[in-house]
């Protein structure tokens, strides 16, 4: 009964804290709670110390319970978001390759951007989408959006809404249908790409709002991939970059760069080496790379500190587990 009481009390405390924070923010008690430098260092030290404690416990043969690890990860990954550390993002060769390809796109070119992902992958891919389209809009490159996932065009709209509100871009007075267009989603996975190879219009008779294809000036003259100068694919799985490479690039000669979730990036490297893909961005670090390359830092760069902490925590956990393994478990198994 006593334990239960504690749990209720804890729950009530958490809810109260949330309400207080929420209200506090709205009535402007505080702007934000970013840590001063000394606090950031203190937090780092505390995290390191508690990791050491876990190590000691594990060596003693009392490994932490699953939920303890969960709580720990939650704290270790969220606190760094409050730290103001500026970091330099390392640029990979394949990220540089992609950016070199982007630099070769001439103003006025038509670029096909395929949004093949859904909200779960948005933390990784949305910053890439924004960085890429911002780059296009700033250089008067025309953007044609499609989606092989039903959620894709909606993610595109979110990115567009954000970009068009930026002063530099809203000053350009971009016109829907002339400077950019969202053709929406179409079902059929790789067959959509296959059909687009002979005729865009038969796969996308209208844009996502129902405007007929022919009355959209931007795509009026685009019959198939030969009317596209460059294409960028944001992909979180199937259908995605692989299908675009296999059909769009190899069969119809599309020039393509890609941004992928980290999970599937590793499988795309053979295509980068063979030149089937002109560069690739992988996961959150890829997003940070493109932001650094286009010199507009956004969410990707913002998350890099917390991401670093996450990786460190993961590595330390593996090391702790293995120390315990070599000290105890292996002997136990042999016995």
């Amino acid at each position: 009964m006593n334990g239960r009481m504690y749990k209720y009390l804890a729950a009530v405390a958490v809810v109260t804290a949330c309400v207080l924070l929420y209200v506090g923010k709205r009535v402007a008690w505080f702007e934000d709670m970013m840590f001063p430098t000394w606090l950031s260092i203190l937090v780092c030290v505390l995290i390191a110390a508690s990791m050491f404690w876990i190590l000691l416990r594990t060596i003693k043969g009392k490994p932490a319970e699953r939920r303890t690890v969960f709580l720990y990860v939650g704290i270790a990954v969220s606190l760094p978001l409050l730290m103001t550390i500026s970091v330099h993002v390392p640029i990979s060769t394949e990220g540089q390759l992609l950016f070199d390809g982007m630099k070769r796109i001439q103003p006025g070119s038509k670029v096909l951007v395929s949004f093949d992902y859904d909200p779960p992958s948005a933390p990784e891919l949305q910053p890439m989408a924004e960085a890429f389209m911002r780059y296009c809009f700033e250089r008067d490159i025309k953007v044609i959006i499609i989606g092989l996932w039903p959620q894709g065009p909606q993610q595109a709209n979110l990115a567009l809404a954000k970009l068009l509100a930026e002063p530099a871009i809203s000053a350009k007075n971009l016109v829907y249908g002339v400077d950019y267009v969202n053709l929406g989603f179409q079902s059929g996975n790789e067959f959509v790409i296959q059909r687009m190879g002979s005729d865009f219009k038969s796969m996308f008779p209208a844009d996502y709002r129902g405007t007929p294809y022919d009355s959209l000036p931007l795509v009026g003259n685009v019959r198939n991939f030969s009317g596209i100068d460059y294409s960028f694919n944001l992909s979180a799985g199937y259908p995605g970059t692989r299908e675009w490479v296999l059909i769009g690039v190899d069969r119809f000669g599309l020039v393509m760069g890609a941004g992928n979730t980290a999970v599937q990036t590793t499988g795309m490297y053979p295509y980068v080496r063979s030149g089937q893909l002109k560069g690739i961005l992988g996961g959150m670090s890829g997003a940070a790379e493109i932001e650094e390359l286009t010199e507009r830092l956004g969410k990707g760069a913002k998350f890099m500190v917390a991401q670093s902490f996450g990786h460190m925590v993961m590595i330390v956990f593996i090391v702790i587990g293995n120390v315990a393994y070599f000290l105890h478990e292996r002997k136990k198994k042999k016995a």
Partner: protein
């Protein structure tokens, strides 16, 4: 300026433009330093008509259905010298001698255009217009052209040949296996561990847990998992060990029950079989994981098999299995889940090994023959890689022509377009 420029006129204009271009070119340092465009300069740029594109050539797209014509040209001299003067190119076309209509645009710097809206049997004439802010210049017209249809894409002849050999050997080996000939498959390490692991569970008197992935029966990995289940069940029936198999698809449940029943029959112990060995939990990923975890913690199986298609649930199961001290044997062809199995399980069948194990155990001609046919494909790939790499390295490093020829041929043979 609607008429196409005649040769003489265009030549004088070219000279004109070239002269201006040269002077501007010489003055470039001044301009680029100031970074601004004086209004007189802009006036000059806008009112002087540009030079037209030259060497315009229309050619039929090879190996197609006669529905595309490719145009190439040398960009206007103004495009090259005065960067930014040309604003766009427009492509005009006359269909069967009719009126010229615009069929497309190209951006400055472009030197090609593909007209893909060509009708078969019609003859076409093209010209390209170079546009500036205030002027335009037409190129000379191309000769009239009729796109041709071809029956066979000869670019892909080697692809066809090699594909045909591989496909042929798949069919050949399936037939061979069907006629009862024994086909050799190499030893697979993980498979040998299976019997050992079952023995351990028997000794300890604890059950065996078998998970055939979380996908349905239309997934080949699930089928491979069920095939191996057949073998496992056979041994279990002999040893009289208990098996627990929660599944997440009702079709898999039916198939698994059938498989285990058959194995018990073959072992001569049909009475020992019960439907409770396999039970359906839920289709939902995390609900299934939670249930499997519960079973593991309660019943503490001595051995866990994870053979089939897995997603994120793989590592949660492997973690729980490890924490209860079970021997874990995994196999999957999901590349993203393999790493987790390798570090958390005692044996892992990597990718195709899962299918090889299944083919080996089932002795089914379909599976055996396919595996052999794929090996033929791999052998071809391996041979080409060795020959090609040696040839191209030797050929380049020491300039051996014979080797260069081989490498060149191989490279062209494996190109798909």
């Amino acid at each position: 300026m609607t008429r196409p420029a005649t040769g003489c006129k265009s030549r004088t204009r070219m000279l004109w433009v070239a002269a201006i271009g040269l002077s501007v070119f010489l003055a470039t340092p001044a301009i680029s330093h100031s970074q601004t465009d004086t209004s007189s300069n802009r006036l000059l740029r806008d009112t002087i008509p540009p030079a037209p594109v030259t060497s315009l050539l229309a050619s039929d797209r090879k190996y197609d259905n006669g529905e595309a014509i490719d145009l190439t040209w040398v960009p206007s001299i103004d495009d090259q010298l005065l960067h930014g003067k040309i604003t766009a190119y427009q492509i005009f076309r006359s269909d069967n001698g009719g009126e010229f209509k615009k069929v497309g645009d190209a951006i400055p710097g472009d030197n090609q255009f593909s007209d893909e809206s060509v009708s078969y049997g019609h003859s076409y004439v093209y010209y390209v217009v170079a546009l500036t802010a205030g002027g335009r210049a037409e190129s000379i017209r191309t000769a009239s052209l009729i796109a041709e249809r071809e029956w066979i894409n000869y670019n892909r002849k080697y692809l066809f040949l090699i594909g045909f050999i591989i496909a042929g050997s798949v069919v050949y080996f399936i037939e061979t296996a069907r006629r009862g000939k024994k086909l050799f498959i190499r030893r697979i390490a993980g498979l040998e561990a299976v019997d050992e692991a079952i023995g351990r569970a028997t000794e300890m008197g604890r059950p065996i847990l078998f998970i055939s992935g979380t996908q349905d029966m239309d997934n080949v990995q699930t089928i491979a998992g069920i095939t191996i289940l057949g073998h496992v069940a056979r041994t279990i029936a002999d040893y009289d060990t208990k098996i627990r198999m929660p599944v997440s698809r009702s079709l898999v449940m039916t198939a698994a029950r059938e498989t285990i029943k058959t194995s018990y029959l073959a072992a001569g112990r049909p009475d020992a079989y019960s439907d409770d060995m396999v039970n359906y939990v839920t289709d939902e990923q995390f609900g299934f994981v939670a249930a499997v975890n519960g079973i593991m913690v309660r019943e503490k199986p001595a051995t866990c098999f994870y053979l089939g298609a897995f997603f994120a649930e793989s590592l949660i199961m492997a973690e729980t299995g490890y924490s209860i001290g079970a021997i874990q044997i995994a196999g999957t062809a999901m590349p993203t889940q393999l790493p987790f199995f390798v570090v958390a399980c005692d044996f892992t069948l990597i990718g195709e090994e899962l299918f090889a194990a299944s083919a080996y155990l089932s002795n089914e001609p379909k599976q055996l023959g396919s595996l052999k046919g794929q090996d033929v494909g791999k052998a071809i790939a391996l041979a080409m890689m060795i020959i090609g790499t040696i040839a191209v390295t030797v050929g380049q490093a020491w300039d051996v022509e014979f080797m260069n020829n081989i490498a060149h041929w191989l490279n062209s043979a494996f190109k798909t377009n």
